[in-house]
């Protein structure tokens, strides 16, 4: 059974087709990277996966639970980090984590033990008792990570994870994600950063205009273009040939 699965997932906003019959299966313990230009449908897909938007057609499931039909079961397994973390500004970081612990019905003892750990792990313990309204974007992002991992989800969805983070934090969180994935965590990560995908992903999916253009390991994706092509080359050629059907074939761009 896949930890994340979509079957014919479709989303229409009026006449606009944002996501077009997306089929995807991410097995447990995999770090899957969604790539795509702006407006490709990545965030819409993610919102349908985490239950914040309803599909027009198709099914999204987390850990075997249909997100629409069994939302509570699916959400218990799930953690999500949005690209713009809007948080309760008048709460402190620690109070925010206590709220999250309460929402996920964590036992008080477990919350008391895990909250300081998460604050330390994501290096925000020194601001934990200050209101969030005074946090920088990076601190908010770190608090979102801490809140996401607090209830120990088995599937994590991250939309543009590095926004506002400094290089040291990026390195630390990247290593942490890898470690957690080895321990069985499934991660679906959406990004514009091809370098990040190359460093981190077990498999990559390239989404454009709501359709999945290519899915596979980095080698498989590169194989589309023949030997020696970088992920960036593949990405640019795939997405531009979609924009312009008359564009030269991939191999010609990368002799």
């Amino acid at each position: 059974m896949s930890a994340i699965q979509t079957i014919g997932l479709t989303k229409r906003y009026g006449a606009t087709l944002a996501v077009d019959r997306l089929d995807l299966a991410v097995p447990a313990g995999e770090l899957f990277c969604f790539l795509g230009p702006n407006g490709a449908g990545k965030t819409t897909t993610i919102k349908m996966l985490v239950g914040l938007a309803r599909p027009t057609e198709g099914v999204a499931s987390i850990g075997g639970f249909d997100v629409q039909r069994q939302p509570l079961e699916a959400k218990r397994l799930l953690g999500y980090i949005p690209d713009m973390p809007h948080l309760y500004d008048k709460l402190t970081g620690r109070e925010m984590l206590r709220l999250v612990a309460g929402l996920y019905r964590m036992p008080a003892a477990a919350a008391a033990e895990l909250i300081p750990q998460q604050l330390e792990l994501f290096e925000i313990a020194h601001v934990a008792d200050r209101p969030i309204e005074g946090y920088s974007h990076g601190m908010r992002q770190k608090l979102s990570f801490a809140a996401c991992f607090l209830h120990q989800p088995s599937v994590v969805v991250i939309d543009e994870p590095w926004v506002g983070l400094d290089p040291q934090s990026i390195r630390r969180i990247r290593d942490d994600l890898r470690r957690r994935a080895r321990e069985g965590l499934t991660v679906l990560l959406s990004t514009h950063s091809l370098a990040l995908a190359e460093q981190l992903a077990d498999r990559v999916g390239i989404l454009h205009r709501g359709r999945m253009l290519a899915v596979g390991t980095l080698d498989e994706i590169r194989g589309h273009a023949g030997g020696g092509a970088s992920l960036e080359d593949v990405f640019l050629v795939l997405t531009s040939s979609e924009d312009d059907p008359a564009a030269p074939p991939l191999t010609r761009e990368n002799p």
Partner: protein, 571 residues
């Protein structure tokens, strides 16, 4: 060609946004728009008819009293009563506008996200302030214009005043509303700058003490002696006359409008110039205050160390708070949600300060209740009880519209946190409903009990009055939470603006109608019991059944609609 001034550019942008807001009505449900517009028209016409009727009554009263002296004296007496009533009304409006402008200025200057953007542009602080000031004046004063216009038009038509009076109305209105707006803005900027680091408990205690002293002063100055005295009219005129003083803009407005109504052009222009000169001076002072204090206050509020001080002032700490301990028995996740809602409320000055004002008004009402229960005839006591319950319920309707209706909307862009958690939207709505019921019923039951005891009601009447209050509290909370979930505004951060939308207006109208229906049931019961004393228990049961059914409907229908809407809401 010269470039437009930054202020003109900012004001133009505000006008464009205002137009967009009006245009956005097209996307609202047509039924909702028509209902709200029709209700607004009914309210406007109601104010006009009420004022016209009151003027006729006053004139008849004057004629009856001075019939043997002559019509001219009767008209003069009516004018004297009206002038003093207008003075008292204008003074009340002035005080309320001062408070609401201080809150609106705080929101517009310190909470608006646009300010951070404007501060990094090359415009002077005075320009920034003036652009926000225009918004504050408009936002705080439109209701006065809307409700004051029909009353003054009724006056003009009933008295057959010269046409210059109608022209004078908007001309007097503008400087009159600028004065409290400037005063409120100065107060808001000074308070933020000077009191930012003081702990909230002592600050609130100080404000309440000051409010109590002012109340005592007003009561002492405006106390109405026993009306059974022979010189009732002279007493009332004397007490109303105490609200007039040559130092207050409210008196300038009243005297200026009366001069315009009487065709005394020179006197009217004098008062108009007095208002304009003071408005200009205060606006200049407010701009100077902004240049001196605004940025320092704003940066102290937004820099992390300043936020740390503000947080300590608000009682933010690292340990388990008294609130968490107190709510310990509540099961999760309701407990965490309630703690979050209460904390967000307490840490937002725009929320708790308005709540204190509302609560103060209710307390003022009860404090002014006279304990003459034993002196009143049975019928009168019943009517006073009904009026008393209705007044409390009306204030409660305003309170639920202002504080309960925006509860769902205030989740705003953070709704994803709740949307992601393993809880149903039905649970969220239920949590907000029960929180609202618990918080408001504590207030209303206490006030109803206190006022009932002060009026020395019979146990049966007191019990029924309490029952009606509890039922109305539940119904008003159901209505407000339900409509708040049915018409959420997850983009707007300011609760006052959320309430002033179509959904909030609809909520207030329906709340008002609900209170009117429950008051009508009580009145029907009281009158029937008076006419048919033997039917008492049956009629009381019937009225109770009607109120219960109405409560059930007003609670269940909006909550169900709200839950359905939230369930289909995409974030």
């Amino acid at each position: 060609m010269t470039a437009p001034s930054p202020l003109a550019a900012l004001l133009r942008a505000q006008v464009v946004m205002g137009r967009r807001w009006v245009a956005s009505m097209r996307s609202e449900s047509r039924l909702k728009v028509v209902f709200v517009a029709a209700s607004a028209a009914v309210v406007w016409a109601g104010v006009f008819l009420f004022a016209y009727g009151l003027l006729e009554l006053l004139e008849r009263f004057g004629r009856d009293l001075l019939g043997n002296v002559g019509t001219v004296s009767a008209v003069r007496l009516t004018d004297l009563v009206l002038q003093r009533l207008l003075s008292a009304f204008a003074l009340t409006v002035l005080v309320l506008l001062l408070l609401s402008n201080a809150l609106a200025a705080f929101a517009a200057l310190y909470r608006s996200r646009e300010v951070a953007f404007l501060l990094q542009t090359p415009i002077p602080i005075s320009t920034l302030f003036l652009s926000r000031f225009v918004e504050v004046v408009t936002f705080s004063s439109w209701a006065l214009g809307f409700l004051g216009a029909p009353a003054l038009l009724a006056y003009g038509m009933q008295r057959g005043v010269p046409w210059g009076f109608y022209l004078a109305l908007p001309v007097f209105f503008v400087p009159f509303v600028v004065i409290p707006a400037a005063g409120g803005s100065i107060a808001a900027m000074a308070l933020v700058r000077l009191l930012g680091g003081i702990r909230r408990g002592p600050l609130l205690l100080g404000a309440l003490t000051l409010g109590g002293l002012l109340l005592a002063l007003f009561r002492a100055r405006l106390a109405l002696p026993d009306l059974s005295q022979a010189e009732t009219l002279r007493t009332i005129l004397d007490v109303l006359g105490r609200t007039r003083t040559p130092w207050l803009p409210s008196s300038w407005l009243a005297d200026g409008l009366f001069a315009a109504a009487g065709g005394r052009l020179g006197e009217a222009i004098f008062y108009l110039l007095l208002l304009v000169a003071n408005a200009a001076l205060l606006a200049w002072l407010a701009t100077a205050t902004a240049e001196a204090l605004f940025f320092r206050g704003w940066s102290a509020r937004t820099d992390p160390s300043g936020l740390g001080r503000a947080a300590r002032a608000a009682g933010v700490g690292g340990g388990r708070s008294a609130l968490e301990t107190m709510l310990g028995p509540l099961p999760e996740p309701a407990r965490s949600l309630v703690i979050k809602d209460l904390r967000l409320f307490w840490r937002d000055p725009a929320q708790w300060s308005q709540f204190v004002i509302f609560f103060g008004l209710m307390a003022l009402y009860v404090a002014n209740m006279r304990h003459r229960g034993s002196e009143l005839a049975e019928g009168w006591r019943s009517w006073i009880t009904i009026l008393n319950t209705s007044a409390t319920m009306l204030i409660l309707a305003t309170l639920t519209t202002r504080f309960v209706f925006p509860l769902v909307s205030l989740e705003g862009r953070r709704f994803w946190i709740l949307g992601l958690a393993p809880l149903t939207r039905r649970f969220l709505v239920a949590q907000k409903f029960w929180l609202a019921v618990a918080a408001t019923s504590t207030l209303t039951i206490g006030l109803a009990l206190l006022s009932g005891l002060r009026l020395r009601l019979a146990p049966g009447e007191l019990a029924f009055s309490l029952f009606a209050i509890v039922a109305t509290t539940v119904a008003l909370c159901g209505l407000s939470v339900g409509l708040g979930a049915l018409y959420p505004n997850l983009v707007e951060e300011s609760p006052s603006r959320i309430v002033s939308g179509l959904g909030g207006t609809l909520n207030f109208i329906l709340s008002f109608l609900l209170v009117a229906a429950i008051a009508a049931a009580q009145a029907f019961m009281a009158q029937w019991r008076r006419l048919h004393p033997d039917d008492g228990p049956m009629v009381m049961l019937g009225a109770a059944g009607f109120i219960l059914a109405l409560t059930a409907l007003a609670t269940w229908l909006p909550l169900r609609a709200g839950v359905r809407n939230l369930e289909s809401l995409e974030l």
